[in-house]
Symmetry: C2
Subunit: 268 residues, 2 copies
């Protein structure tokens, strides 16, 4: 038998700890991140990830999935705390907070542990700054059966609340790796892998390009795109038609258009 811990004050150390996880520097120190909402937490649970701390609003409506989640957290030795909705709103920074949130241990994001043979498609983002784009790429990766997302150079934090939210649970199903370019290229060349850049120059039309598995589809920074030297290092440069005035797509959109093309045309 266990009892939930009830938190009634904003100044409670657990509240302060939870709030601190909204900032990257504290996440780095604690190696923990926040995920909000029953749907996300259920995705996590079904992917074999349980929060170390489960936070619930006192006035929440009962829900069988939440009860199952709570039972699993308790069984795994995790902590369950309850707090007023307005305190939870301070934790999550949203006016309309979900009735539940969880604290998870960050995953290992080293390249060394990626098994490139585990999936035919991998997404790669270079200097991606928008956490929403990052989360959307994870979500797309889940949809196309990709293995995960490799973040090159200085990207947004995959464990930020915004990225986790935009991933719609894919943060728990996709692998995430972080690496500098100069470490990524040697790792890639240690084994099979086609590095493909979305590019505007010297490029194959993306609809008839010779994609090969495992296919690493790379998009660049939202405003600058990929550095030329990075494009040069790719095995294949592909171009997506741009019929209008603009010369680029949103980074997550470009990744998705390429990923669905690769999914449809990759030799099985």
């Amino acid at each position: 038998m266990y009892s939930r811990r009830l938190i009634t004050g904003f100044s409670n150390p657990t509240v302060k700890f939870l709030r601190s996880l909204r900032e990257k520097k504290h996440r780095r120190v604690e190696q923990r991140f926040l995920a909000e909402g029953l749907r996300l937490l259920t995705d996590a649970r079904e992917s074999g990830r349980l929060p170390e701390i489960l936070v619930m609003a006192t006035g929440r409506p009962p829900h069988p999935l939440l009860e199952a989640l709570e039972a699993d957290v308790v069984h795994a030795g995790g902590e369950v705390v309850e707090m007023d909705e307005e305190i939870l709103a301070k934790v999550t920074g949203k006016d309309n907070p979900q009735a539940v949130a969880g604290v998870f241990a960050e995953f290992d994001t080293s390249l060394a542990n990626l098994d490139r043979a585990a999936a035919p498609i991998w997404l790669v983002a270079q200097a991606l700054r928008d956490p929403g784009n990052l989360g959307t790429m994870l979500r797309t990766g889940d949809a196309v059966g990709a293995g995960g997302l490799i973040l090159i150079d200085d990207c947004a934090d995959p464990f930020s609340v915004e990225a986790v939210r935009a991933s719609m649970g894919a943060i728990f199903t996709q692998r995430v790796a972080q690496a500098r370019w100069e470490d990524f290229v040697p790792w890639l060349r240690e084994g099979p892998g086609q590095l493909v850049a979305a590019s505007l120059r010297d490029a194959h039309p993306y609809r008839s390009a010779p994609y090969v598995s495992p296919c690493f589809l790379m998009v660049g920074n939202e405003s600058r795109g990929l550095p030329e030297a990075y494009e040069d290092a790719c095995d294949l440069r592909v171009t997506i038609p741009m019929l209008g005035r603009a010369d680029s797509l949103n980074a997550a959109v470009a990744a998705a258009v390429l990923a669905y093309e690769a999914l449809a045309t990759l030799p099985r």
Copy 2:
């Protein structure tokens, strides 16, 4: 000969007016919206749209495109104002404001003025709530040569700063229409037009679906998707493979995957 107006105080009525345009209710009253940044304003200018008021930071670096823009605004009878960077930051709500912003008259968004024959592809969004997704759809529409974006029911405001920013200038090149579903359907059925829904049921695989021009590609609300009755009213329902745990893509991503498929396969 004209002289720029220099604004030195936060309490200046023009500053208050500009700041008010960050809120939808004020935009509705004033029928004006804000766009920030030389790139966006240059896109506007090259699309034949000039700001009524051009706002520049006093310490901005000189730029030939800005000089050309200023000359055009003055020639068209518009107003040019200068203000300190920190005042401009208050106007745009960003810590690192662009050195220039503009006030534009909102466009007519009635369906009646859309020429469906003007383009083979039109994007349609129903109850789309995220202004970033809305702007991203405009940007994608520009890229695929779509005619514009039709917003059904209660969507985010296409003239919000976030949507304008995410559109990367496409707000000035794509047509935007707003309509209730019960007004959209009769309008659509007055002429040629295939209404296509991204759907999970009773649907063609999106890669081999019989798209016909003008093709209206519709995506639904970020969390609820399209109402079933709306899907039923479509001429074609297409499904995008979802190989992972999630059952949907980001709305702007789904629209882009469909739009690029339609672009590649629509009979010319």
